[in-house]
């Protein structure tokens, strides 16, 4: 096995609203012998990825896009597909780069992007896979893995070889795992299974967390309670981590909206009476709410259920967020009722609630749900707020981490490493918010597999669990492959209305990379010259960062040492105050 063989045919999805850049990047990536799919809209890109997660190895996305913020896309991808994502921008400002890292980007490229930078992107794919292999090796119950495994032939040998080759990109924990590497190279190849977080699985997860109680929840406990064979603690850990990102983002949006509408109630279809929104922003000493007048408002939200009326809008019904940690456990029952009572396992989302810029607001659990009137499967994903100081999640998916403020000491063992992979079963139709207009949106999705085969998707409505993707444009029609329509699998000749001209690809182990691995990546990643290793914490002026909490948690990880954890890369939400970790 030639371990130094270049990964030809690496399947890349490029997302950029700038058509010129899209064309250039496509050409560049082709020249690297990669397989390229381009997309001009983030929403369309998500569709494609949801359609066939295993058909891509890596995603490259611009940061500034009209239909969806690049960071949001990044989150989605990390949460749902767990693919490595590279961000691009003409803006190389440290804060932006930092934000990218926080959100899980494995790299951040500055435009104009150079060929050599693109040539190296395969490293991110391999690194991620290696990480998964190591996780498997280190986990006790790897024997129990019964989940469907995607093979990636020869990967392990290759990737192990890569470890020694890419010293600079080594994660810190690699040093500790050297012995593991040895073992796995001698022993049988462990193939990582991909965990799909179905609605049910996720619900079990939530229930487990609620049952345990926020204060005491830990990945092992959640795992035990869930009692799902093959599920690893790592799965649970990274799941949580990503949720937090979602929640905080949603919360931010919600808060923004609240502020924008000057305290107007959201009126959701049929649920307006039940909403009682008061935004709650803890004003943290280290964070300055720049120009936010409502910094000390209180968001008290009452849980609500979305019914199927909400098919066209993402209804945001904030959950009640208790002020004290203790009350969370008692509220857990309520939230459970909420979630289970909904016909679709339904979820409330905190959309549109404004957020103070620091994103350190109350922790509210946000579950998002789309109820499609057409009886389509609902889209669900849990959102977790950024861990805040005095608040914990109601439908807490994660434990209340020790607070940044001095009153709450760090409680070891509270760290968890949930690796959630949510399978987003979602119909794109009528998804009001994120996918405003799927059909016309796909216009920009072009895919050229070879000069002769250029496929332009003019208009496609995507249905996930369905096997047919129909195009409103007569030229294009996707036929189902393997029961799932796949935009990628079908090569189109402009003259053909459908077809699979290219054999399906082997499923790849994008695999169960549980973690976004943000902090873990920090030290080793020379993002455009920013090397985190040598930067002392005090060097960051946190008060200016929007995503202070996330930055802090990412960086804090370097300091926190929990025996219970297997990786150091878990994101711990320990917002710093005045640059200090803990009391």
């Amino acid at each position: 096995m030639d371990a130094t063989a270049f990964p030809y045919g690496l399947r890349v999805l490029v997302v950029d609203d700038d058509p010129t850049w899209l064309k250039i990047l496509e050409k560049m990536l082709r020249k690297c012998s990669y397989e390229v799919t381009t997309c001009g809209l983030a929403t369309v890109a998500l569709d494609i990825l949801r359609e066939k997660k295993s058909k891509f190895d890596i995603v490259i996305s611009d940061v500034n896009m009209p239909d969806m913020d690049g960071f949001k896309l990044l989150e989605h991808i990390g949460l749902e597909m767990d693919l490595p994502v590279i961000m691009m921008s003409i803006d190389g400002e440290t804060s932006r780069v930092m934000k990218g890292v926080q959100h899980g980007a494995c790299d951040y490229l500055l435009k104009p992007v150079r060929m050599k930078e693109l040539r190296n992107i395969w490293q991110h794919v391999y690194r991620k896979k290696m990480h998964e292999v190591k996780e498997i090796e280190g986990h006790d119950s790897c024997d129990d893995l019964q989940i469907l495994r995607n093979g990636f032939e020869g990967l392990d040998e290759k990737s192990l070889f890569m470890i020694s080759d890419s010293d600079t990109m080594r994660k810190r924990k690699d040093v500790d795992r050297d012995h593991v590497d040895q073992e796995s190279s001698d022993g049988t190849t462990v193939k990582k299974a991909r965990v799909v977080w179905s609605v049910d699985l996720h619900q079990k997860f939530v229930n487990a967390v609620n049952q345990i109680g926020f204060d005491k929840v830990g990945p092992k406990k959640i795992l035990d309670l869930m009692n799902i064979p093959g599920l690893t603690r790592e799965n649970v850990a990274s799941h949580l981590q990503k949720y937090r990102l979602y929640l905080s983002r949603l919360q931010k949006q919600n808060e923004e909206r609240i502020l924008g509408t000057a305290g107007q109630d959201f009126s959701h279809k049929g649920t307006s009476e039940n909403l009682n929104l008061r935004s709650s922003f803890q004003e943290q000493p280290s964070n300055i709410a720049n120009g936010y007048p409502h910094a000390s408002q209180n968001i008290q939200t009452q849980s609500n259920m979305l019914d199927s009326q909400l098919e066209d809008t993402k209804s945001t019904v904030p959950l009640s967020v208790p002020d004290k940690k203790r009350s969370l456990v008692s509220d857990a029952a309520d939230s459970q009722n909420v979630t289970s009572a909904s016909t679709l396992g339904g979820v409330l989302s905190f959309r549109g609630m404004p957020v103070n810029q620091e994103r350190k607001p109350s922790e509210t659990m946000i579950l998002e749900c789309h109820a499609w009137s057409g009886g389509m499967p609902s889209k669900q994903f849990m959102q977790y707020p950024k861990h805040n100081h005095e608040r914990c999640d109601l439908l807490g998916d994660y434990s209340c981490l020790p607070k940044p403020d001095l009153e709450h000491p760090v409680a070891p063992g509270n760290l968890y490493a949930p690796p959630p992979l949510i399978s987003m079963s979602c119909s794109m139709e009528g998804d009001g918010r994120d996918f405003p207009d799927v059909k016309p949106a796909l216009v920009d999705c072009t895919k050229s597999l070879s000069p002769a085969l250029t496929c332009t998707v003019d208009s496609v409505s995507v249905r996930l669990s369905d096997s047919v993707v129909t195009s409103t444009d007569g030229d294009l029609k996707f036929s189902s492959v393997d029961g799932l329509s796949s935009i990628k699998d079908c090569c189109f000749d402009q003259t053909n209305s459908q077809g699979t001209l290219r054999p399906s690809q082997e499923p790849s182990i994008i695999g169960c990379t549980e973690l976004a691995s943000l902090p873990e990546d920090l030290p080793g990643y020379p993002l455009q010259g920013v090397s985190f290793e040598s930067i002392p914490l005090s060097a960051f002026d946190f008060s200016h960062y929007n995503d202070t909490t996330m930055i802090q948690s990412g960086l804090q990880n370097n300091w926190y040492d929990d025996d219970d954890l297997e990786f150091s890369s878990e994101m711990t939400d320990y917002p710093l105050i005045d640059g200090r970790l803990f009391a």
Partner: protein, 136 residues
């Protein structure tokens, strides 16, 4: 490409290096695409400037987009003027923005003219000479 000096940066060279047998007109195609798209962006900016009350955040965002686009072909002067524009946005100087915008438009138009001449020249000169020509 002496007469293009100062107008285009290294990125343009990169584009030329990307051009090959499978895409023999790559550079020109990219340039065409750029001018088509950037004209649209310019219109957006123009409309946004005249809006009242002025939303500098949005204006900055539009120019940022335009700047990013300009970076794709290495439009150096255009990019630089975008930076000036963004600085005016930051200072919330509408007058500064207006002035800067006029400059951007001029630079954009000039670049377009020059590139048109450039490609015309290449066509006249022929493919082999192009390889020599393009090495500034």
């Amino acid at each position: 490409m002496v007469f293009m000096q100062g107008f285009l940066d290294e990125q343009f060279n990169q584009l030329e290096e990307l051009q090959d047998e499978s895409s023999p007109n790559f550079v020109e195609e990219v340039v065409d695409l750029f001018f088509k798209d950037s004209s649209r962006l310019l219109t957006n900016i123009e409309q946004a400037i005249d809006k009242y009350p002025q939303d500098f955040y949005r204006l900055d965002s539009l120019v940022h987009q335009f700047k990013g686009s300009g970076s794709s072909i290495g439009a150096l002067r255009v990019k630089n003027e975008c930076s000036v524009f963004k600085a005016h946005c930051n200072d919330r100087s509408l007058e500064g923005c207006r002035r800067s915008f006029q400059k951007i438009k001029r630079e954009h138009a000039t670049l377009k003219q020059k590139l048109e001449s450039y490609f015309q020249l290449l066509r006249q000169v022929g493919p082999r000479e192009y390889a020599v020509c393009s090495r500034k």
